[in-house]
């Protein structure tokens, strides 16, 4: 018979909790330098960023380049809110929420083109969107135009980052294991067939874009409040390509993969620094080699929890061996 499959939520969350616990110890006992902590925060917040991208690019299978625009919207919205309204540090959750929600609102609008346009046509539409956001910010005096915003309160710390990451993982997991998540994967494979088995494609896309933009917006909000500064130039082509690389490096349609992709890329950037101008010769080469040997990205569409599932199954099999052999003989 079918082994009924539970959602091993813990499978993905526990590792993060363990990591977070280690981080807390490291931090509180000052076992780690602030700069290492900063890298860890980059890793955490870019993991959220990538999880967000993964909603649309991975699960829904759309080649979207809107993430730079979403991140910029989240970052700027949050920065403005903390500069003018939510000035106290206890209001940080509100700031994050505000950043996320504004990005989400824009995400909702950005889902509309995806009803009609497909493939690379949609890629260009979303690219255009990202660049419009950037250009808009470059022109908007109120937020410093090309100078950007500085003196933003540095509210972000490792707790917030990993707290948000945990939240993001849980949200994405729940979502993916619901009818909405299933419908995304169905649309990725065959949109017409999905419609003809009653999936509301527009709704599914809207929700995917909204959740995606929300998470990306939060990652942007975390970033500004981490550096205390942001400017439009951070949300251009480089950001777009970095996002793509992280998503697909880790594996599209995998939560674990998203985190692994973000982590690996951030670590790669740091470790290759010593190579001077050769760093991207090596980095580019590595990227290419990884993709050749792990064509679906490092994790493919597998999850860490799949491994746990497999192990559990293995052990339970040896116990219930008898019943299974009975079934098969039937």
């Amino acid at each position: 018979m079918i082994t009924k499959r539970k959602n091993h939520l813990l499978g993905d969350v526990i590792p993060v909790i363990i990591i977070a616990a280690i981080l807390i110890v490291l931090k509180e006992f000052k076992l780690i330098s602030t700069s290492r902590l900063l890298i860890l925060q980059y890793i955490g917040l870019y993991s959220i960023f990538v999880l967000g991208i993964n909603m649309v690019n991975g699960y829904l299978g759309i080649f979207s380049l809107a993430h730079a625009g979403f991140m910029a919207s989240g970052a700027y919205a949050a920065a403005i809110s903390s500069k003018y309204f939510f000035k106290e540090s206890w209001m940080f959750p509100l700031i994050l929420l505000f950043g996320g929600l504004i990005a989400m609102l824009i995400g909702l609008i950005m889902s509309i083109p995806s009803f009609k346009a497909k493939g690379d046509y949609l890629a260009i539409i979303t690219l255009g969107f990202s660049l419009i956001v950037q250009s808009f910010l470059q022109n908007w005096r109120f937020v410093g135009a090309s100078k950007g915003i500085n003196n933003v309160a540095k509210f972000t710390n490792i707790y917030w980052v990993y707290g948000c990451l945990l939240f993001a993982i849980i949200i994405v997991r729940k979502f993916i294991n619901s009818k909405y998540g299933r419908s995304l994967k169905a649309i990725r494979e065959d949109q017409v067939a999905s419609e003809l088995v009653s999936v509301d494609v527009k709704r599914a896309k809207t929700i995917a874009f909204a959740v995606s933009a929300f998470l990306i917006g939060i990652s942007g909000a975390l970033l500004v409040h981490l550096l205390g500064y942001t400017s439009p130039s951070a949300y251009g082509y480089t950001n777009i390509v970095d996002g793509l690389v992280m998503v697909y490096l880790g594996g599209m349609g995998s939560i674990t993969g998203s985190i692994v992709g973000a982590t690996l890329w951030q670590i790669l950037i740091q470790t290759l620094k010593n190579l001077g101008t050769w760093r991207w010769v090596v980095g580019g080469g590595l990227l290419c080699v990884i993709m050749i040997f792990l064509t679906n990205g490092i994790f493919g569409n597998k999850e860490l929890s799949d491994a746990i599932h497999a192990i559990r199954k293995y052990f339970s099999r040896s116990k219930t061996n008898k019943t299974i052999s009975e079934e098969t003989t039937k």
Partner: protein, 298 residues
């Protein structure tokens, strides 16, 4: 003044169009958004620079130098493109297309920074590859190189369009782009056809680089970056896989770039308008201007 602006538009449009079809060769046939194509363009620029600088030491026959260095550079970029295809893309033939995109990002970085390391971070000035002559048209003086850019680009575009639409190889290319196995049942060697498309792409990129270098002579290791983005945009705007579409896309982008700052009161809003137009067009024609509706029947 208007004539001059028109020529400028044609010049920019031709360069974009040529870059776009060079991008489109690989894009349309191998189905690959090749982020490394910009690096091929960069390499073409450097090869042209070194070849022509060297040749100008021997002779001062500008045309000769132009043609010869184009040939040398084309050879070089073709080799690079072939190697790139063999090493980085062929092993990924059956991988999801997006993996190949990431691989191409890697290759692009590798090539670009290799160029940086070999040629140094100092920008270079391309020697004048087209004789510095001006001609008078209706009272306006127009530099010859502008006319030449337009003429050369048009010739290249027409040849290519005929090639893809009319020849056996062109049909084979399009067949391969849709179903490699089915093409093999017809005796078509898809690897070979894809290699051809990379070579055509490289040669066209080299010509585009030659024209670009004649128009905007200073360049650094990352010239190819933005060219690549513009080409990608133009190719999609015109309709994926359509040579005429890529040309049209290129001219539209050129047009927006020339016209928008002219008509807008504040030129810094140009990008907003340009990308707005782009989105608008694609919303109205979601398969590009000349793209066929993807043939999918239930």
């Amino acid at each position: 003044m208007l004539l001059q602006q028109f020529i400028n538009f044609l010049q920019l449009g031709s360069i974009y169009a040529l870059a776009a079809i060079s991008f489109s060769m690989v894009y349309g046939i191998a189905g690959l958004v090749n982020f490394a194509h910009g690096s091929v363009f960069t390499i073409a620029m450097y090869l042209l620079f070194y070849a022509s600088t060297l040749l100008f030491k021997i002779t001062s026959a500008t045309w000769g130098v132009f043609v010869l260095s184009l040939m040398i550079a084309s050879l070089g970029t073709s080799i690079v493109a072939i190697l790139m295809e063999r090493i980085a893309y062929k092993p990924l033939r059956n991988a999801p297309p997006i993996s190949v995109v990431v691989s191409s990002v890697g290759v692009g970085m590798l090539l670009e920074y290799l160029a940086l390391n070999l040629a140094g971070s100092k920008a270079k000035r391309m020697p004048n590859l087209i004789p510095d002559i001006t001609i008078d048209i209706a009272g306006t003086t127009i530099p010859l190189f502008k006319i030449m850019i337009i003429v050369i680009a048009f010739i290249a575009m027409i040849i290519l369009s005929l090639l893809v639409r009319k020849t056996q190889l062109g049909v084979a290319m399009r067949a391969v782009s849709q179903d490699k196995t089915a093409a093999a049942f017809m005796g078509i060697d898809s690897n070979r056809v894809i290699t051809y498309s990379f070579i055509f792409g490289a040669v066209l990129a080299t010509i585009a680089a030659g024209l670009y270098g004649s128009a905007y002579s200073i360049f650094a290791y990352n010239v190819g970056d933005t060219i690549n983005w513009w080409s990608f945009i133009a190719a999609v705007l015109g309709g994926i896989g359509s040579i005429e579409g890529a040309v049209l896309g290129g001219f539209i982008l050129g047009g927006i770039n020339v016209i928008a700052p002219m008509v807008l009161p504040v030129s810094s809003y140009k990008d907003i308008v340009a990308f707005g137009v782009l989105i608008f067009v694609l919303l109205i024609k979601p398969t590009g201007l000349l793209g066929k509706n993807a043939a999918e029947k239930v």
